[in-house]
């Protein structure tokens, strides 16, 4: 039986499958539900300084089971309200990573202190939120901005800080390098891809906010490429995110260099039972491939390791 445990940025995870931010994370009871369903850790909804209703509907469009476009607009109850939610899974012993977003480095630092005070095990920084100055660009879209934000957060808290990297840039690895240099304990990659859907009969974009973020199976190859390039440049652990719906998907990311993965969109298509299923399937797959643990799989596709013959082969 393969060992699924993972050590990452000072955290001990029972398996490498982490609930991605934005899924089941507004309510503490939901976070606990995802933990009980078998997630190795749960990331909260991205929490900001004030309650936010987010964008009007339509906020979602789906493409069969291969993709999802969302422009939720970071709805969240605000950091004042969130402690009463996050204490639910914390009280039950869940490994909870608090996600925060802000429009400036100062706001990130202030939120970091408040989120850390709730007792979460680590912070994940949502660097894909809009810039406060209304530039419309992602707040963590340049290495300089990432450096400023991560540095301010790491000065403010003692918790492990995970920087979530945007793919909407020509050089995601440079963002990850900046995060590492500024003190991040890990990076997660990727957030959603900037995307758009148009209804040709109505002659308008489908989403109320027009532009949205693409997630799901369609973006897995992009997520994998980013993880691959990031692992070339950083030595902190990388958490792979984007389109994971099964054990092979997770293993692709691990072999690309990721130490753990996040699962989000798959929950919409399969429910939170996806965590238990992938964990079981991953264990069986590692056994089939002769790998004793998740840790043994990390980075195996890098550096030309010899192929493992399939069981029963020859």
């Amino acid at each position: 039986m393969a060992n699924l445990t993972v050590r990452l940025a000072g955290l001990e995870l029972r398996n490498p499958l982490v609930l991605a931010s934005g899924i089941w994370g507004e309510s503490g009871v939901s976070l606990l539900g995802a933990w009980k369903a078998g997630a190795g850790a749960v990331v909260t909804k991205s929490i900001g300084s004030v309650p936010r209703a987010g964008y009007p509907n339509p906020t979602i469009e789906t493409y069969g089971q291969w993709g999802m476009l969302n422009a939720m607009g970071l709805p969240n109850p605000g950091i004042d309200e969130y402690p009463k939610e996050v204490e639910v899974p914390l009280h039950a012993g869940a490994t909870v990573i608090g996600s925060i977003f802000g429009g400036s480095a100062e706001e990130f630092a202030s939120l970091a202190r408040r989120m850390a005070a709730t007792g979460v095990a680590a912070l994940e920084l949502n660097l894909s939120c809009p810039h406060a100055e209304g530039y419309g660009t992602e707040v963590g879209g340049t290495p300089e901005a990432v450096d400023e934000i991560v540095r301010a957060v790491c000065r403010a808290v003692r918790l492990p800080v995970i920087a979530k990297i945007t793919p909407n840039t020509s050089d995601p690895a440079a963002l990850a390098v900046a995060a590492e240099r500024a003190g991040a304990s890990a990076v997660s990659a990727i957030n959603t891809l900037r995307a758009l859907a148009i209804d040709v009969r109505l002659r308008r974009p489908v989403l109320a906010h027009k532009l949205g973020g693409l997630s799901g199976a369609a973006i897995k190859p992009v997520g994998l490429a980013c993880v691959w390039q990031i692992c070339e440049k950083v030595s902190v652990p990388v958490i792979g995110v984007g389109g994971i719906a099964g054990a092979e998907d997770a293993l692709e990311y691990l072999m690309a260099g990721a130490t753990a993965v996040e699962v989000g969109t798959a929950v919409a298509f399969e429910g939170v039972g996806v965590f238990g299923r992938i964990a079981r399937d991953l264990s069986a797959l590692l056994d089939e491939l002769g790998l004793p643990s998740v840790q043994a799989a990390v980075g195996l596709a890098r550096g030309g390791a010899p192929a493992v013959p399939a069981r029963g082969g020859r």
Binding site: K45, N57, P77, L202, A268, G271
Partner: protein
């Protein structure tokens, strides 16, 4: 993936309520809902008030800006639809008491119709603020349900809340299920009366929705999501495991009493 369809008919049901009919082929069961996109305006969860056949419908009460605008929808205009979503009413009970408050009648009417078609007997306690706002009274009568009316101002039926005749019916007849839809404070009372009479109750619950796919948590209700585990719930689960009747979440997810 959404479908865009033309509104084929607009029926004015009450001064505050219209039904939109549209061609929509996917099979739907009473209690299920669609996400109704009013282009350029909003996308709202709407229980289907007509669930049978190729032409379906939703019945919308003017409650806010968007729903007020819906009252002036014209046939031929386009709407978008996602769904049908959610868990429907269990249609196996044979002797059903349906308690409808205001626009809740829109949810219960198609359920009552299917139940009666399958041989069940249905009694309906229908309430509204005033006579003109009693929704689907004739539809309930035409389908062969026993109908009791109640209006807050006494302009039709009994004066007062519909919970009173509902409670009386529960005490005088052996029902094997109560179905209810309306303001949450009403549904709580109806469910409590049902419990006192030893009859299982099912409530069609409303919460803010965004994804309607069980993912975003906007409609989180205790350990459930209204969009995938509901909207129809057994009242005992609601009381035991959720904040039903005590608080709801606003569009930001903040808990708000009521």
């Amino acid at each position: 993936m959404r479908t865009v369809v033309p509104v084929s008919e607009v029926v004015s049901e009450t001064p505050s309520t219209v039904t939109l009919r549209f061609p929509f082929a996917p099979a739907a069961r009473p209690g299920q809902f669609v996400m109704l996109w009013l282009p350029g305006d909003d996308e709202l969860p709407m229980s289907l008030s007509y669930t049978v056949g190729p032409s379906k419908g939703v019945t919308i009460k003017a409650m806010g800006e968007t729903t007020r605008r819906v009252l002036s929808t014209r046939p031929g205009s386009s709407v978008g639809l996602r769904g049908p979503y959610g868990r429907a009413f269990d249609l196996s009970p044979r002797r059903i008491l349906a308690v409808a408050g205001g626009s809740g009648a829109a949810v219960l009417a198609p359920a009552a119709e299917e139940a009666i078609r399958s041989g069940a007997r249905v009694s309906v306690a229908l309430g509204a603020t005033t006579a003109a706002e009693l929704l689907f009274a004739d539809r309930f009568r035409r389908m062969g349900a026993e109908v009791l009316l109640a209006t807050d101002d006494g302009s039709a039926g009994e004066p007062g809340f519909v919970t009173a005749p509902a409670s009386r019916l529960l005490g005088s007849s052996p029902f094997d299920a109560v179905w209810t839809c309306g303001p949450e404070v009403m549904m709580v009372k109806v469910a409590q009366s049902a419990r006192a009479a030893g009859v299982p109750a099912h409530c069609s619950v409303e919460r803010h929705m965004k994804c309607a796919l069980g993912m975003c948590d906007a409609c989180a209700l205790g350990p459930y999501h209204v969009c995938t585990d509901g909207p129809v719930f057994e009242s005992e689960r609601l009381f035991a495991e959720t904040e039903f009747g005590r608080y709801h979440r606003d569009a930001s997810g903040r808990r708000v009493p009521g």
